[in-house]
Structures are given as C-alpha cells and as structure tokens.
C-alpha cells in the first residue's frame, strides 16, 4: 500500500517546487542578512531601509511608548472645585470620593527636609507592582524635573530573575539612569528559602552599587515569611522602603493595590525619599496626573522569559 502511494507521489510531486520553496526562504533571509552586515544604507526616497538587527535588550513584550497619552483630568488642585459640583450618578460620586481621599492622604504627608534638587534620569524595575507604580512615578518626575527613562516591568518575577539575569545590567547600560527604583517581592512573600533569596538580593544590590537607589518592598496584604527583612538587610541602610504596613486600597484581584492605592503608595515613597531615605530625591506631589509617558517600557513575563 505504502509502495503504491509512493509510486503515485513519484509521478506528481514536484521536487523542483519544493527546492524552490526552500530557497524562497533562504535567499531572502540571506539577502537581508548580507544587507544587515554591510555598511550599505539603502533608501527609497527619504525612507531608510531598516536592517534586521534590532537594538533590543531581551525577547518579550517590548513596547515603545513614544506616543501621546492624553493627560488625565485628575488634578489634585481641582478636587475641591469638582467636589462642589453636583453629581448625577454614583460613578461620579465614587470618583470624587476617591479624589478627596487621595487629596487628604497627600496633604497629611509633611515634608520636613529638603532633598537633592538636581534632575535625575530615573529607571524603575520590578514585578507587576512596578507596572502599577511607574505611571504614577512618571507624574512625579514631571513635577520635579526628573526624567523617567525606562520602566522594566517583569510580571511574575522574583528577586531571582533580577539577580541572576543580565537584564538589569543591560537595561542600566542602555538607559544610563542616575537613580533607580526597585519594586520586587510580591511573588515571594511566602517564600521559605530566604537564604537563597537574600543572597540573590545581595547580588542585585551589588549590580547596582554606585548608583543611588530606592528599594521598595512589596505592598503585600498578608504577613510575609521574612522576605522584607531579607531584602532590607541586602539593601544599603536607609535605601529600603517597607511598604507592607501601608493601608492601600486593594484591586479586584486582592493581590495588588488599585489605581488609588498606587497613588497613595507613591506618595508615601515620595515623602520617605524627601525626608528619610539615604539617597534623597526631590519628589513633590504632582499637580497634574496622567502625564505623557516618554520612558521606554520593557514588559516581560517570567512565565515566558526567566532571564537566567
């Protein structure tokens, strides 16, 4: 039966077509590779033909945020004015309650110490909580003359990913920040191998040694097994911010803060940076929120990209 089929195929299958198919992939890719390795720069009209080699740090979900983001209407200085207006539905009431709550929380934070007034190139990296914080941090950067240059959001990541991969170093080398925020720990609050995590935290601390940084502990809603203590001992004294005792409104998933929670969290961090942190940073609360994000956002997922 098989021989019969084979003989039938022998008559009709076109070997030359399959060969052509093979070369249909090889020739274009070779040509593009040759162009890539050459010093030629071809262009059509004024449009330069790009080359294959891409200037990127890691595989994953890289996104370019050089697009305009409409500024959010949520301005702290508008809260009182808005709260006077009549509201016709519950959603609007809820939104105003949130704004007022935020305003009260921000007002209660008192600045007691002047901070470093120079504008910094800021990079933030961390797990999913970093993904919630970076846009709020972006507003603080605008307010205080800093520039948020990169945000490395590594979803589901733990300290092991940041310590044992070369992603952190590559990102630092590429974006040359002068101040770093680290937000990691949510995915390991119940970790029991604290020795291993502590040594990983020390590796990460060594990697960024020489650069001023703020190491932000996870905003966990349950008591951890000691991960905060492990990170605090690895970080330079005065550079670790304990977040776990903050009372932050929860998101729907029960694990992360909601958008208001992230704003309150950032406000507390800002206060700490201006008053108590080893590496001081000018961090006045932003008058305008939802500023355009110019930073490079590198979005990775530890489930797909472990990094080491």
């Amino acid at each position: 039966m098989e021989n019969k089929d084979s003989s039938a195929l022998k008559k009709k299958n076109s070997k030359s077509i399959i060969l052509l198919a093979g070369f249909s992939f090889i020739i274009p890719l070779l040509l593009l590779n040759i162009y890539d390795s050459s010093s030629l720069q071809l262009s059509i009209s004024d449009i330069k033909l790009k080359k294959m080699t891409v200037d990127s740090i890691d595989p994953g979900l890289n996104i370019n945020t050089a697009v305009k983001i409409k500024p959010n209407l949520l301005k702290n200085n508008n809260v009182k004015v808005e709260s006077k207006k009549k509201s016709h539905n519950n959603h609007k009431l809820e939104a105003k309650k949130k704004d007022l709550y935020l305003a009260i929380n921000l007002d209660s934070l008192v600045y007691t110490k002047r901070a470093d007034s120079s504008g910094h190139r800021i990079m933030i990296m961390g797990d999913s909580e970093c993904g919630g914080l970076f846009s709020v941090l972006n507003d603080y950067c605008y307010q205080n003359g800093h520039e948020l240059v990169a945000s490395l959001v590594w979803n589901s990541a733990t300290i092991l990913n940041f310590a044992y991969s070369d992603t952190v170093i590559k990102t630092i080398n590429k974006y040359e920040p002068t101040f770093i925020f680290i937000v990691v720990g949510l995915n390991e609050i119940y970790a029991s191998d604290l020795k291993k995590r502590k040594s990983a935290a020390e590796i990460l601390a060594n990697k960024i040694k020489g650069l001023p940084y703020a190491w932000i502990g996870p905003a966990n809603y349950a008591e951890d097994n000691g991960i905060n203590a492990a990170f605090a001992s690895a970080a330079e004294p005065g550079s670790f911010f304990l977040s776990k005792d903050l009372n932050l409104p929860k998101g729907e998933d029960g694990r992360h803060p909601n958008s208001l929670g992230y704003q309150i969290w950032m406000a507390a961090i800002a206060n700490w940076l201006e008053t108590e942190a080893k590496y001081h940073l000018e961090m006045k609360h932003p008058a305008i929120r939802g500023q355009k994000i110019r930073a490079k956002i590198i979005n990775l997922n530890a489930a797909k990209y472990r990094g080491y």
């Binding site: 098989e2 089929d5 084979s6 195929l9 009709k12 299958n13 076109s14 070997k15 077509i17 399959i18 052509l20 198919a21 093979g22 070369f23 249909s24 992939f25 090889i26 274009p28 890719l29 593009l32 590779n33 040759i34 390795s37 050459s38 449009i47 080359k51 294959m52 200037d55 595989p59 979900l61 890289n62 370019n64 697009v67 305009k68 983001i69 409409k70 500024p71 949520l74 539905n89 959603h91 993904g131 970076f134 846009s135 589901s156 995915n187 119940y190 970790a191 029991s192 349950a222 729907e252 998933d253 694990r255 958008s259 929120r289 939802g290 994000i293 956002i297 797909k304 472990r306 990094g307």
Partner: protein, 499 residues
C-alpha cells in the same frame, strides 16, 4: 560596490561552530516561533532536504517527526520529555481501550483521560488553586510559579480527542507508533493549533497532497499573510493596547473605546495570523489543516460567531463536552445549562483566571439568549438591514468581552468599560487621529481586511496565483523587509501561546 561594503566574515560567522551549536540548542531567552527569522531560515534548509525524500513516504515521515521534536525542543526545551512520555502512554492507552469492552473499556478511558489531563491541570491550574486557597481560606501555601509547557493545552486536547474517538469506535487506533507520533508531533499545529482531529489527519499521512506550483503559491501566500497579520498589524496594535492597559486611568473614554477595537483586531490578527502560517507551512509539506477562522467578525449573531472563531476549539468543545453532557437531547433548560457549562470550560481553558471564566460565562449567556431569541423571532437571513445590525451588535459584544480577556484584572476591565460608557466624547475622534495617526490607519486597514467580502479577497488571491512561481521569492523579500521596517524591537510571543 556591494563587495567592498559587505563584511565577508558574515558568511563565516553564520556557519561558525558557535552559531551551529546555538542553532541546535534550546535557549530559554529565544524560544522558536514561526515568526522568528531563524526558524524560517532553518525551515528553508529543511525543505531542501525534504525535496530529496518526499517520494519515500517512510523516511519522509521519520524526517518530519524528528524535525517536529526538534522544533518542540527549540520552543520548550526540557518539556520535550514530558511531551514524548504523553505520546507513548496515550498510544498504548488507545490500543488497550480498543481491545476492551464494557466497564473495563470505560474505566480505561477515564484512567487515560485523568492521566492526560493531570499534566495540564498541574502546570496550568495549580497556582490558581493555591492563590484562591490563600485568598479565600487564609492558607499560606507558596506559589509554584510554574512555567507552562508551550502547546500543552492544544496537544492535551488532541490526545483526548484521539482517545475518545477510539473509545467510541469512530476511529481505529493507529497500528504503527510512528503514525500516532506523526499526528501528535506534526510541528505546524503543535504549539498553538489548530486542534487537529486524528480522523481528519491520519488518512493524510498515507496519502498527502501533491506538492505542485499551485500548492506552493497557496502556501507561500498563506505564510506571508500570516506574517503580515501578526508582525505588521497585531504587534503594532498590541503596543497601543498595552500602554492603555498599563495606565488605564490616564486615558479618556474615547481612547478606551478605540483600544477595545484595537484589541479585537489584535487578537484576531495575532491568532488567525498564526493559524495562517501553520496552515501554510503544513501545506508546503503536503498536508492540509482545516481553517481555524472563517471571517468571524462578519458573523451576524453570536452563534454564527462561534462557528467561525477558533473553529477547531469550538468543534472540540461541542463534540467532547457539550454533546457528551447531553447536548440538546434533554429539554430546553438543560440545553442552555450544558451550553453555559461548555462555555465556562472553554473560558477556563484559555487561562487560569476568573476573568476567563467570566468571559466564557458572558459568551455562554449570549448564546443562550440568542437561542431563546431565535426560537420566538424569525428573521430572514437575507434581510440586509438585519444582517448589518446583527454584525454590528455581535462585533461590539465580542469586543466588549475581549476587554476581560485582555485586562490584567477585573478592576481594570470594569474601569475601561466604565470609561467607554460614561466618559466617551466622540468629538475626540479628530484629536485621536491627529495624535495617533499610525493606530488610526492600522485600525482602518484592519477594518477593511476584516469586513471585506470573501469574494473580493478570493479574487485578489486568484490573481496572485497567476504570478510566476519565482516571483514569490521577491514577494517574500519585500514582505520581510516591510516587516523589518515597521516592527519595533523584537517579535512578541503569539497571544495563544500562553493558553
């Protein structure tokens, strides 16, 4: 001119020992997808060797199996072992099931299903269970943070369909292990479907399609369309959607509205693009996989949508869950109940998260409502106005549901929907097009592609077949350059790889 500027070491470096070693090794950082240029390059060499053995069926099958295993190794590394173990055990399970009768046969089937599903349940759902236990029962179990083996959801379903078909005597178990291994490992459908049924595919192993000029052109066009859909449209739209979902409160209602459509097109072009590449590659080898999409956004109601969207999964759910549950054989109420259960399972299959369950439930309820509606109200399907309204309604319902699919939490999803329904200002359309011209153009291109009638598409495709075969090399070069020109950084993983 060219010689003087080309680095001649490039050719030497390309085939250096280091590069060859890397080509045969698994890299966690660079798993193989169809969209990786390195894959397409190796696939070219694979085809050249294939051309010499295509007439020797036995060797050809062994060659494809080996390449498929290599492909899976390049995609998933050590999980290849798990995959092979599953293939071997299911092959023997099927043979034992076929040889038994009565209760013993049924027990063997259940045992084999539990065994096959256990891998999927462990890797995909154990953290979900732990997370919910911690949240609702106050326990403190550590999360395993397991890596989901690529394609496990797809090949588990394939293996289940094979076992059940053998149990139902709809299919005789393969005599040769190599035939079953070929069916399971065939790399075009291996990691993200289409979910191929053994009874459709096994006959092709013995008598594949004849590879001729027409088939070559059809395959290449399918692959190029898939690459363009994925790399040119889906990835670009994806960037915008990702930005919006990262900071949902920083965007206006109109931005959320556009993001909803952007994601509807992104997920369609991402997955149908993948399916096109898979079908094209399989076709180049002489094997025809069934279409996975049939213009789903042209569906005039939700029932038709599910006949056109991810067809292989819809059919699988119908044949192996809905009908075994009872289908429509036990009265109206139970029919609706079974439909809801099927869609809930379908939702959960997509991901271990309540959001996916909710998404499945929403679609299930819509299907039930449509069934009730069509029982009492008869509409002439040829009525253009009702058909148009049906398409608009169905597309918008599906798009709103996609928000739950895309958002990282219920909170963000509801925030987005709330913005769309309460904060939208259509006067922003002009500023939107000014601020985001690329996204506007891509959404318009997407709409044209999605809503263009099949007749027009087929006419254009038929015209392309008239081009001489060698011109397809130029077409491929131009397409790849176009992709390089517009893509940003590295290629994003296919959305359906995570399922």
């Amino acid at each position: 001119m060219l010689q003087s500027t080309v680095d001649i070491n490039f050719i030497i470096n390309l085939f250096s020992a280091e590069n060859i070693k890397a080509a045969f090794s698994y890299s966690f950082n660079e798993p193989w997808f169809f969209t990786e240029f390195s894959f397409l390059f190796v696939f070219g060499f694979f085809l050249i060797i294939y051309s010499f053995i295509v007439e020797k069926n036995k060797w050809k099958n062994v060659y494809i199996i080996l390449f498929s295993l290599f492909f899976y190794y390049k995609s998933s590394g050590p999980f290849l072992g798990l995959f092979i173990l599953m293939i071997i055990s299911d092959y023997f399970f099927a043979r034992y099931i076929a040889n038994q009768e009565g209760l013993k046969k049924k027990l063997l089937l259940y045992l084999s299903l539990v065994y096959s599903l256990s891998f999927l349940l462990y890797f995909k759902y154990s953290d979900f269970v732990v997370l919910n236990l911690n949240q609702f029962a106050g326990t403190h179990f550590a999360l395993n943070n397991l890596f989901l083996p690529i394609g496990i959801s797809f090949y588990t379903f394939q293996s289940i369909s094979y076992l059940v078909d053998v149990y139902r005597n709809e299919l005789a178990p393969t005599k040769r292990f190599s035939d079953y291994a070929f069916y399971m490992t065939f790399f075009p459908h291996l990691v993200a479907g289409p979910i191929v049924r053994a009874k459709d595919f096994l006959p092709q192993i013995a008598s594949p399609n004849i590879i001729d000029s027409r088939l070559y052109k059809e395959s290449i066009l399918r692959i190029l369309m898939g690459l363009m859909k994925k790399l040119f449209i889906a990835d670009y739209l994806g960037k915008y959607v990702t930005i919006l979902h990262a900071t949902p409160n920083g965007f206006s209602g109109f931005e959320h509205f556009m993001s909803m459509y952007a994601y509807s097109f992104q997920i369609y072009f991402d997955f149908s693009g993948y399916s096109d590449i898979a079908i094209g590659i399989a076709l180049l080898l002489g094997y025809r996989l069934k279409d996975n999409f049939d213009g789903p956004y042209l569906a005039s109601n939700i029932t038709i949508f599910w006949r056109k969207w991810h067809i292989s999964l819809s059919n699988w759910l119908k044949d192996y869950i809905y009908i075994p549950l009872g289908g429509s054989r036990h009265g109206v109420f139970k029919t609706y109940l079974f439909l809801l259960i099927t869609m809930l399972i379908g939702g959960f299959w997509h991901g271990a998260d309540w959001r996916f369950m909710f998404w499945g439930l929403a679609h299930g309820l819509a299907l039930v409502l449509h069934k009730i509606w069509s029982t009492y109200i008869k509409i002439n399907p040829k009525n253009m106005l009702f058909s148009f309204l049906g398409v608009v309604l169905t597309f918008n319902f599906v798009s709103i549901c996609w928000i739950f699919f895309r958002s990282s939490s219920f909170e963000i999803a509801f925030e987005s929907i709330h913005s769309i329904f309460t904060k939208i200002n259509f006067l922003e359309a002009y500023t939107f097009t000014m601020a985001r011209p690329e996204i506007t153009i891509l959404i318009l291109i997407s709409m044209v592609i999605v809503f263009t009638p099949f007749k027009v598409k087929n006419f254009l495709i038929e015209k392309s077949y008239k081009l001489p075969a060698f011109t397809y090399i130029i077409l491929i070069t131009l397409t790849l350059q176009l992709i390089i020109q517009f893509k940003d950084d590295l290629i994003q993983p296919f959305i359906y790889f995570q399922f």
